[in-house]
Structures are given as C-alpha cells and as structure tokens.
Amino acid sequence: MTLVYALIVGVAMGALIQRVGASSPRMILASLRLENLSIIKFMATTIAVGMVGVYALSTVMPMHFDIKPTYVVGVLVGGLIFGVGFAIGGYCPGTCVVGIGERRKDALFALLGGVVGALLFTLVYTLIETPLIKPLSYGKVTIPSLLHVSPVVVAVAVAALFLTAVALLPTERSRRA
C-alpha cells in the first residue's frame, strides 16, 4: 500500500514541479543568478508548511520521520559538488525526470549523466568512505535536539522566519533598462 501512496505523492509532486517551473533549467539558473527567486520562494514555502504540518501532526498521531545522518565532511563536499552540477545543468535528480515527462530532451541527458554519476559513485565508494563519510559523523541530529527546545516550537519559529523572508524579498530583480 505504501508503494501506491508513494506513486500518488510522486504524481502530485511532478505536477507541482512542472506547474511552478522548477523543471525548467532557465528558471533554476534565474534563481541561482538571483534574477527570479520564485523557485527558491516555492521551496521555502513548501518547507515552512511542511515543518509546521509534520510537527503539529506528530502531537496527535505517529509520523514516519526519517532523519538523515549528519556526517559533516561528506554532506558538505557532496553539497558543493551537487551545487556546481546544479548550476551547470540546471536540473536536480527529480526535476530532470519531470522534464523528461514534459518532453525536454536535455533532461534526458541529465538523467543519463545521473546514471553515470551513480555508477562512478558505486565504483569509488570504498575509497571515499573512510576520508569523506566516516569523519565528523554525529548521526541523526536535529536542530531541536541541539537546542533542547520542543520541535513544534522550533518548527513554528523557523517557518515564520522563512515566510517572512519570502514575503519581504522581491521575486524579480527589475532591470529592464
């Protein structure tokens, strides 16, 4: 049954990504160049609603949380490599799949690149595990656990911060001179 839920979530997510324009490399680059922040604002709104939603619901029902471990070196180095690839290609691992759905040919090349990237990672995993994944590994750390504050309180505070920033920042940099 959870496979069916995941499929439905995927369809909804794919449709939302397509409609907001996040599967467009042009929109991704406009965000990274700070020319049009609508994708970043979309993500920040999603996260703000989600964090209040999950932690509010967690007070009345069991939730399927799954916190990814913090291994500082691997997460940061991986994020830096990801960021460079994100700016070069304009796709992320999910948006290229949505892009293929809406018949973008370059998205297919991004997906193929991703398969090659996965193969490369598989081949070098044993070599990089010790220097990059094992050091500074703290396990499943959350911000509320670090602060010793209730997750609901942190969620509401961070969501308020995100939504305020999103509301105050201009979406488009106007320079049509």
Partner: protein, 180 residues
C-alpha cells in the same frame, strides 16, 4: 492547479492581492510532503539512481553486484522512492498535457551553449555531478533540502547551504561567457 489565484470577492476594492503561483503551489507541495511523512516516509529521489545500477548489475554482472558494498547497502529497486520517481514522470507529463504548456526541447541557459549539442553536454555533466554529490551527501534536493529541513535535520541545512553557495557561485562564474 494553475488557477489557484484567489478570485476577489465582489465588494473588494481593485487592489485585491493576487496570490503568486509559487506561494499557492508551495503550500500545496508542503501539504503533499506532510502527507508523505504521515503515510509512509519523507520524499526522496536520488537513491533510485544507484538502486537502478544495482538492479542492472544483478542481471548482467551478479558477482560485481554481490561484492559491491554500496549496491548491497542500497538494496532492491522495488521501493517507495522508485514509485515516487515513476510518479514524477507521470505528473510532469500530465501537467504539461493538461495545461497545454510546451517546454523547449533544450533550454539554452549559459552563454557557452552555442549549439544544442553543447546544451546536452552541460545537462549531462550537470547530471553526473548532482548524482555523485547527492550520493556522497546521502540525499538531494528532495531528500535533504525539502524533507531534511522540513524535519529540522541539521544535515539538510548543511547540504542546502553548500548547494546554494556553490550553485550561486558557479552560476556567476559561468555567466562570464565561458560555460563549463
């Protein structure tokens, strides 16, 4: 879904606020991500790529598949995450079809992409780097940034900062006219 812009009540003055699309769709996506964690678990995508490598190698090179610790760790392709990826394809296709939006076959995004072939090259190179980086970090935009920060995970915040830091810097450097 495109028509979530609030229709103003009759008595309202002309300055009625239009809700931007990123806001209404962002709220919807937040509800979808909440529903996923309530029903089965956080959304994620990038682990599907090595699981696909695993599924192929178990057929064509079973000894390699059985001896590679990463493929063993990632396991079967029959997971919720794979179903979600199939859903992304369907959702993207259906939304484009229903809305009648026509995406360009290739979006030229860098000055150096002087031919469609060069655009494909950049998309490919970007694809290699995002999956390698995501697997090193243990997640991507959906798993680390959306789901991670939603769950207030420290790893998601670190990953997000690194991605946008490197992404904004790279976009700025490339813009100078020498793409990749």
């Amino acid at each position: 879904m495109a028509d979530l812009v609030a229709s103003p009540p009759l008595s309202v003055q002309r300055t009625a606020v239009r809700i931007p699309r990123w806001a209404s769709l962002g709220v919807l996506f937040g509800l979808v991500s909440t529903a996923a964690i309530a029903l089965y678990g956080p959304i994620g995508v990038s682990g599907t790529y090595p699981r696909f490598i695993g599924a192929v190698s178990r057929r064509v090179a079973p000894e390699f598949a059985a001896s590679n610790p990463y493929l063993v760790k990632m396991g079967s392709l029959i997971t919720q995450e794979t179903m979600l990826v199939v859903g992304l394809l369907i959702g993207g296709f259906a939304a484009a079809l229903i809305s009648g939006s026509r995406a360009p076959a290739a979006d030229i995004v860098h000055a150096g992409e002087t031919s469609v072939g060069k655009r494909y090259r950049d998309a490919f190179v970007g694809g290699v780097l995002i999956i390698f980086g995501a697997r090193l970090a243990g997640g991507c935009t959906s798993g680390h940034i959306i789901s991670g920060i939603t769950q207030l995970a420290l790893s998601g915040v670190l990953f997000g900062a690194a991605v946008f830091g490197a992404g904004m810097l790279t976009a700025r450097i490339i813009k100078g006219g020498h793409a990749s």
